[in-house]
Symmetry: C2
């Protein structure tokens, strides 16, 4: 590990602590904003699902993209926390018995194991709903137009045309293996859409020009692809202890991945290409974009 990546990982970890502090307040037992009550078991399950030791990569991307373009950090942090609620909801529902049926997530019992299945379904539903609450709430200090743009972009990244649709395609892929274009579409929706949104959201928070917003969105697409390629490589090469979850599952279920289709050498080359393209998109921002460039390399090189 060189000095630069050490600095980057410290920065990522510091931001993760900030995001977790924000989530801790948002998911505290106190009923907020005119709520009659927060049913405690449900709140506790939402808290458990969200404060589970993730890297908080998506909020980090929101915050760093906003920072690059001069956006307000507190607003970016709240939007990042909202996005993390959506990410964590998707993990809770994906882990359900009717979906991927996973008992472990980052080495800990999944929500339906630690609580029960009904509570896991409701905790996911409530985290998804809460994300839109957090963005629209008065405490998120952004112009109305920016909040609406975030709401719309998040709904589209998370819905049938994005993450949830990608999960539906993933379930279908277990029955009939998709072709290469099918795999690309599935991955762009299932994991790509939220990562792309993270980068675009930073631009929206900063009130960026349409050009900057498109550029950040394209950067997000590239690192989304890199993220998925790295994931597929890890699934084939890593072991369960490092990943904190079962590995080799995609292969054993017969799910097609680009890595399985084209081989490891191709995958490594493709991964490097995505990182180069991502970095090239940052060229206009020169030195100011060094953290986002590091993020792209980190995503490509991560070990878990």
């Amino acid at each position: 590990m060189d000095a630069s990546s050490e600095t980057f990982e410290a920065r990522l970890a510091a931001t993760a602590r900030e995001v977790e502090a924000a989530l801790g307040v948002l998911l505290s037992p106190s009923a907020l904003n005119g709520e009659i009550t927060r049913p405690e078991r449900l709140r506790s399950a939402m808290h458990y699902a969200s404060l589970n030791g993730g890297k908080r990569l998506r909020p980090f991307l929101v915050i760093e993209a906003a920072s690059l373009l001069g956006g307000d950090r507190d607003a970016a942090l709240r939007v990042g926390a909202a996005l993390e609620c959506v990410h964590c909801y998707s993990l809770v529902h994906d882990d359900l018995p009717a979906m991927d049926d996973d008992n472990l997530r980052r080495g800990k019992p999944t929500v339906h194991i630690a609580y029960d299945e009904a509570t896991a379904i409701l905790a996911g539903d409530s985290l998804l709903t809460y994300a839109f609450d957090i963005i629209a709430a008065p405490e998120t200090k952004l112009p109305d137009a920016a909040k609406l743009a975030l709401t719309l972009a998040l709904a589209r990244a998370a819905g049938i045309g994005g993450m949830a649709g990608g999960q539906a395609l993933d379930l279908a892929a277990e029955k009939q293996a998709p072709d290469e274009q099918g795999i690309v579409t599935l991955q762009a929706m299932k994991t790509g859409a939220l990562i792309r949104f993270a980068c675009e959201a930073g631009a929206i928070v900063a009130g960026a020009s349409p050009e900057d917003r498109t550029r950040l969105r394209q950067f997000g697409e590239r690192i989304g692809l890199a993220f998925q390629l790295a994931d597929d490589i890890l699934d084939l090469t890593s072991d369960a202890a490092t990943m904190g979850k079962a590995t080799g599952k995609d292969a054993s279920r017969g799910k097609g991945t680009l890595v399985a289709m084209h081989g490891m050498a191709w995958a490594e080359a493709k991964l490097a290409e995505q990182v180069r393209e991502a970095e090239a998109l940052l060229a206009p921002y020169a030195e100011r974009s060094i953290v986002l460039a590091q993020a792209a390399r980190f995503i490509a090189g991560r070990k878990s």
Copy 2:
């Protein structure tokens, strides 16, 4: 049935057809707004879950409340369709085996029976997400501030402090019967919050004054209570053929209802009181509020 209620039911049915036409377009196979694709099985399940012959009472309330206060009908229709997506998502998830485990809904197989459990979970997730898309989309012709107010109010009505939290309390009530205040809270959240939102949303669509918005919200609270009381009465007195679903289930599960607690005479009196209070809230609007007053009486007197 007198002439007035006949006219009202025709009006309700005509609006239901409008809402269904809007939902049909929104849930058509065409990928919209830059979506890469709409996975067909998921889209079909969302369509099945939403176009299932309901009365469309919530969208009707949005549209009539907006109409009372001079709001745009097309905008109200879109907001009503969004709200119906949230209502239908909640039915899909409530029917799941891990929740109420119902195989029939309005006489037809529930989504997890007609499709499969994973698709039902994702269809619910996607309908919920789509509601926020519909409100924020450019096709909903409202000022940004109104769209944001709708987003925030809907998220709060649907989330842990509203409908989802109410469902969590309902599940807990199967294990430990709540006291009277607990039942009131549960019902205000589980069914009351969306009905209250429907009325308040109409006021927001119309750009109403804070006073009118509060008044419509209070009207929504009263008819939400009336709705639940009528439901509890029906659960005890109706049969499955009329309701299109299993009846007497609440009683057989030992769930407390106010009707079971206080008896049918008390319930009928309480129901009449809620309707009187709801009508009294409409007094300032005089003749213009006749349809909302009819809606209150319809909710109290419905047979299914």
